[in-house]
């Protein structure tokens, strides 16, 4: 199912894109739904799609083994994840699982990368948002690490 521009306008991640840019994103996107406990992707999976959570709640974590999942954080509505799909080697650094029924906007990463190269304004906005996502995740990870070290 394709999202509409109006769907995207409801999502914080797409806040400052122009209408034309939102139409471009719509053309390369689809809406996917996941059931509770369904895995969206595993750690080390090759990724071809970038996701933005539309509705629901997702958990992100790492695995010591397939059976031993460590939950590191939740992905909130409006947040981007699966950013590894945009950067070589396109391998996921974490797994993501649905904690509640979830609806996500799935964006074709190859098409997104092409648009990033073609449209500088679009590319700057998108890369800034991805950098913010990674920066926040890194900051949270540092906090978690310091927290563990001081326990």
């Amino acid at each position: 199912m394709k999202p509409t521009s109006d769907d995207l306008k409801k999502i914080r991640f797409f806040d400052n894109y122009s209408d034309k840019q939102l139409d471009t994103i719509v053309r390369m996107s689809s809406v996917k739904e996941f059931r509770v406990k369904e895995i969206l992707f595993e750690q080390y999976d090759e990724l071809s799609e970038v996701y933005v959570l539309f509705e629901g709640s997702l958990s992100l974590g790492i695995s010591l083994a397939r059976e031993k999942r460590i939950h590191l954080g939740t992905i909130e509505e409006g947040q981007l994840f699966s950013w590894s799909a945009v950067f070589s080697p396109f391998i996921s650094t974490a797994w993501v699982m649905a904690l509640a029924p979830a609806k996500v906007i799935s964006i074709d990463a190859k098409k997104l990368n092409k648009e990033i190269e073609k449209d500088c304004d679009f590319g700057f906005k998108t890369m800034s948002k991805i950098a913010q996502t990674i920066s926040r995740r890194l900051s949270d990870t540092r906090f978690q690490l310091m927290n563990q070290m001081t326990l």
Binding site: D140, F143, T150
Partner: protein, 274 residues
């Protein structure tokens, strides 16, 4: 209300109830021998005969003078002994000491509160105070983090606050346990969920030092000014009078000048997060 005859002499209070909040945290309900008033954020010295004295910020409403609640985390000798106390014993109270939250500065604003672990104790008292002046506030958002769902204290508080207009609460845990359906991750990750009018907002941070450090950094990133961030510093207060020097932090005596400071007051002080 310092005892006027002898500032080192406590007033006596009867322990009437002990509430288990989490495996390491208990709340002690005390009835002082005479009315005891404090300003939210101020602390007291609570003592047990023959054991010792330790500083705590009351977790109860500052509007109630005939009863006092103190939430105690088991961290050392005195607190371990306190955890063994049963209702009926007498405890000593000195204080209240220091500078609490300047609630009047919050009027007309949105209040964002970041709490971690046992840091929710002073915050609960603040929340009671804010509840009494809801009409003067724009909104109050509480973001609280604990290690696990069972370490989360004051569980009924969250449901109650969510029913109050202008109040919103969010919880997160470091470690997921089956059945938990709220957020996972550090408390700063909850800030991704909320929307604040930062210019017309103040933030309050109280919790373990590491949480206060990262919480403050994140608030600054969000656009909060240094004087919009209130920190409740708990620094081993002892005499409560700015005399003994146990709680010195740079030029400040936390017991006298604090425990509530703005970040702008402390930012140049070394080792504030230790």
């Amino acid at each position: 209300m310092v005892n006027e005859r002898n500032i080192y002499k406590p007033i006596m209070a009867s322990l009437t109830d002990v509430i288990d909040e989490s495996p390491l945290i208990k709340t002690f309900v005390l009835v002082p021998e005479k009315g005891f008033s404090f300003k939210t954020g101020q602390f007291i010295e609570l003592s047990v005969d023959g054991i010792g004295e330790a500083p705590f910020t009351p977790s109860s409403s500052p509007l109630i003078t005939e009863k006092l609640e103190v939430t105690v985390m088991k961290t050392g000798y005195v607190t371990e002994c306190m955890h063994k106390l049963k209702p009926g014993v007498l405890m000593g109270i000195r204080g209240p000491f220091g500078r609490g939250y300047p609630i009047e500065n919050f009027y007309g604003k949105e209040v964002l509160i970041l709490g971690g672990g046992c840091g929710l104790a002073p915050i609960r008292s603040l929340l009671y105070a804010l509840e009494s002046v809801t009409d003067k506030l724009e909104k109050v958002i509480l973001c609280y983090g604990s290690k696990t769902p069972s370490d989360c204290i004051y569980k009924p508080l969250f449901a109650r606050l969510n029913k109050i207009e202008k109040f919103e609460t969010y919880r997160t845990v470091d470690k997921f346990e089956e059945g938990w359906n709220e957020s996972i991750g550090v408390v700063t990750s909850l800030l991704n969920k909320i929307k604040m009018n930062i210019e017309k907002s103040v933030a309050v941070v109280c919790g373990p030092p590491i949480m206060m450090k990262f919480g403050t950094i994140r608030l600054l990133e969000m656009g909060y000014q240094e004087d919009q961030i209130y920190l409740s510093m708990e620094k081993n207060m002892s005499c409560g009078l700015g005399k003994c020097g146990h709680c010195m932090m740079g030029e400040f005596f936390v017991c006298k000048d604090g425990p509530v400071f703005t970040y702008s007051e402390l930012k140049d002080t070394p080792d504030i997060w230790k």
